[in-house]
């Protein structure tokens, strides 16, 4: 009796899981007859990593908002739920459906050679967004669109230099700790490099760096430890917003006040990403400077597709424009190797106008 019941339960579980798989395998909005030989609508297959953060959601929305029917596109969207094998399947589906362009936001850097070769053989241009891919042959993809993480780091540190100068702080007055991202992530590498180089050229006291793994919990734990080791620290360089939240909590719990008034013992928190929650903290002065990591890749990708359509060539790497948001107006703009970047003072208005 028991066994009979069990087999019924297991069998039904199997059926449920099978149907669940079945429904997932077809990309949303993907009609198999998406061939576009009429030359008018362009079919774009987009394989997204998932929806793990506000940033990612904004990235998806940007793509969906750009490649609309009204703009003459047919977007075949696939959510890979953080799995590379899902992305590879999605790309193969795109090839079978003979889409005109493939856009890929890869979950990891490696392991794309085979499937990109298949796309190339099918003569479908592949545009990579956000993270980079490491392939043996660079011609496997047409272009890459994403953030210049090192430039983000350079912009933030250049701002810090100007800010310190404006406030009459000497280089030796700054005692910086770095809460790094997940070690090896391209955002971590670029942002850490930016800080290290600036610390070297400006003679800043870079006390320590430790990974907060891009999470709030680890950021908090690492900050707790930093406070005890370096009672004199006054600048916290967090490599994303979540780490900054954790760091702020740890600093407040230890009786420190966060803010830009370093001279009067406040601890300055700098962050990256500019999520809505992060900018809310910038608005109330907890995060002094938040440097944007722009998820709105859609328009940039569209430009590339337009260029390719008209038979033009495109740059292998295209960086998206990224802003900086500050709690005050001490430093209106920074310049890096001759190029000026504006620093926006964050107001409620600016915040509510943002797309993500």
């Amino acid at each position: 009796m028991k066994k009979k019941w069990l087999s019924i339960v297991l069998a039904s579980a199997l059926v449920v899981s099978c149907t669940a798989c079945g429904s997932k395998a077809t990309p949303t909005g993907g009609t198999a007859s998406a061939k576009t030989t009429d030359g008018k609508t362009i079919t774009v297959g987009f394989s997204q990593v998932g929806a793990e953060s506000d940033w990612r959601t904004a990235n998806t929305t940007s793509m969906k908002g750009t490649f609309t029917k009204a703009n003459g596109y047919n977007l075949v969207f696939d959510d890979a739920q953080q799995k590379q094998e899902n992305q590879i399947t999605a790309i193969r589906n795109f090839i079978q459906q003979e889409v005109n362009y493939i856009v890929l936001a890869p979950v990891t850097e490696t392991g794309w050679d085979t499937v990109l070769k298949e796309a190339k053989d099918a003569k479908i241009p592949v545009i990579i967004v956000d993270r980079m891919v490491k392939v043996s042959d660079e011609s496997l993809y047409t272009a890459w669109v994403g953030s210049n993480f090192k430039l983000e780091g350079q912009k933030a540190t250049e701002w810090l230099k100007d800010f310190a100068a404006a406030k009459g702080l000497k280089n030796s007055d700054l005692h910086i700790v770095d809460i790094q991202g997940t070690i090896g992530a391209s955002a971590q590498i670029g942002r850490t490099e930016g800080l290290e180089e600036a610390a070297k050229t400006n003679g800043w006291d870079l006390l320590a760096k430790e990974s907060g793994e891009f999470t709030q919990a680890k950021g908090q734990e690492v900050m707790e430890s930093f406070i005890k080791q370096y009672p004199n620290l006054n600048v916290v360089y967090c490599e994303n917003d979540n780490e900054a939240f954790g760091a702020i909590d740890a600093l407040t719990a230890a009786g420190k006040t966060v803010g830009s008034d370093i001279k009067n013992g406040q601890v300055m928190v700098m962050s990256f990403d500019c999520t809505k929650a992060g900018l809310t903290d910038t608005l109330n002065g907890k995060i002094t400077l938040d440097t944007e990591c722009n998820p709105l890749h859609g328009p940039r990708v569209q430009k590339i597709i337009d260029a390719l359509k008209s038979g033009g060539t495109v740059d292998k790497k295209a960086y998206v424009d990224e802003e900086m948001f500050c709690a005050d107006t001490t430093v209106p703009k920074v310049s890096i190797s001759g190029q000026d970047f504006n620093v926006t003072k964050l107001t409620q208005d600016v915040l509510s106008k943002r797309a993500y």
Binding site: S211, T215, A217, Q220, E224, S225, N242, G246
Partner: protein, 352 residues
């Protein structure tokens, strides 16, 4: 005179708590040398402040898990590797109920106690699922719990709709922060409470004895009239419940449900805590306090490595080295060797 001291020493070294405590002291000793102010505890901003406080505070979730993991290990001779994922499930359910389904909330949509209980019920269901697979179907614990290990975070993602759910309400921060003006972090109370309650249950009822006998020899205990299936099942439900508590505490610390990261890799630390506590991972007799000490040792190690400024990319290597040393020190074979050496020495002295 000489004889009595020798006897006492032996008694101490043979105590079940001896090796776990020695390991913890070893880790702490390194700190005394490296970071002189490591043991300084002061009141700062109205709360206790210091490295030691950090260790005790941060280890809370691990202690709670280690208690449950010890029982599961003892009864079924295997480990539950789904605890981290179950933590994420509990945290996401708790936060979703509190936020009323929104991604971020500044006011509570439901009383905390209801969300807390719902989270615990969900985690107990997860525990019961594992328990059913292991005790009734007789599947290897590691394999059975692999299901929720993989699926758990997916379920949590489903509950939170793939986002990090924030509950920005001070009342929710209490469980991972401080109760009013109390200088001791709340997670510590949770950990102590769990250890005391579970200890009381084991001592006041025969459950502890039953678990040991089921783990030592399941069929023999069944012949003795013990329902070994039910006892194994029960330990998994208890572990599920404890994972739920740990999950809610961890989520309260960051006042959000981060389904991808809450309790990440904590299952391995919990198993390690059980091993460091001098427990036999193949079941039978167990040592609850040993596991608790093991849990504190692991957190002490992490905090120590931070304090010693080990850079993030090298951290796992140092951790691994220390763990290897501790595990080797505790292994029965190694201890037998040492004993034999000592014995050999004594014989040699006697002969000479």
């Amino acid at each position: 005179m000489k004889k009595t001291t020798g006897f006492d020493w032996k008694k101490i070294t043979h105590s079940r708590f001896f090796m776990p405590i020695v390991c913890l002291l070893l880790v702490l000793l390194v700190n005394v040398i490296q970071t002189p102010n490591f043991f300084a505890v002061s009141i700062n901003n109205g709360v206790l402040y210091g490295y030691l406080v950090d260790i005790i505070n941060r280890a809370s979730e691990l202690v709670i898990l280690a208690v449950g993991m010890t029982l599961v290990t003892a009864s079924s001779g295997g480990q539950d590797i789904s605890v981290g994922a179950v933590m994420a499930v509990a945290a996401s359910i708790c936060c979703q109920i509190l936020s009323g389904g929104a991604v971020s909330t500044n006011t509570l949509m439901a009383p905390i106690i209801i969300a807390f209980i719902a989270a615990l019920v969900a985690s107990m269901i997860c525990g019961a699922f594992n328990g059913f697979l292991v005790s009734v179907l007789g599947i290897q614990p590691m394999v059975a719990t692999l299901i929720l290990f993989t699926a758990g975070r997916g379920i949590a993602q489903l509950v939170t709709k793939g986002q990090i759910t924030y509950v920005r309400v001070d009342a929710y921060k209490v469980m991972g922060g401080y109760i009013g003006k109390c200088p001791i972090p709340t997670p510590v109370f949770f950990a102590i409470g769990v250890v005391i309650v579970v200890n009381l249950i084991l001592k006041k009822t025969a459950l502890g004895l039953y678990i040991e006998s089921v783990g030592s020899n399941g069929s023999a205990s069944r012949l003795m009239g013990l329902n070994s299936t039910r006892i194994k099942f029960l330990t998994y439900v208890i572990l599920g419940l404890l994972s739920g508590i740990a999950g809610v505490v961890a989520s309260s610390r960051i006042y959000s449900a981060d389904a991808n990261n809450i309790g990440l890799n904590l299952e391995m630390d919990a198993i390690l805590a059980v091993a460091l506590g001098g427990n036999n991972l193949s079941g039978g007799k167990f040592n609850l306090v040993g596991s608790v000490i093991g849990a504190y040792t692991i957190q002490a190690l992490t905090t120590t490595l931070y304090a010693m400024k080990v850079s993030a990319d090298q951290l796992p290597v140092y951790k691994a080295i220390v763990v290897i040393i501790i595990v080797v020190l505790q292994s029965p074979t190694f201890q037998k060797k040492i004993r034999a050496m000592r014995h050999g020495k004594a014989v040699a002295v006697n002969a000479g």
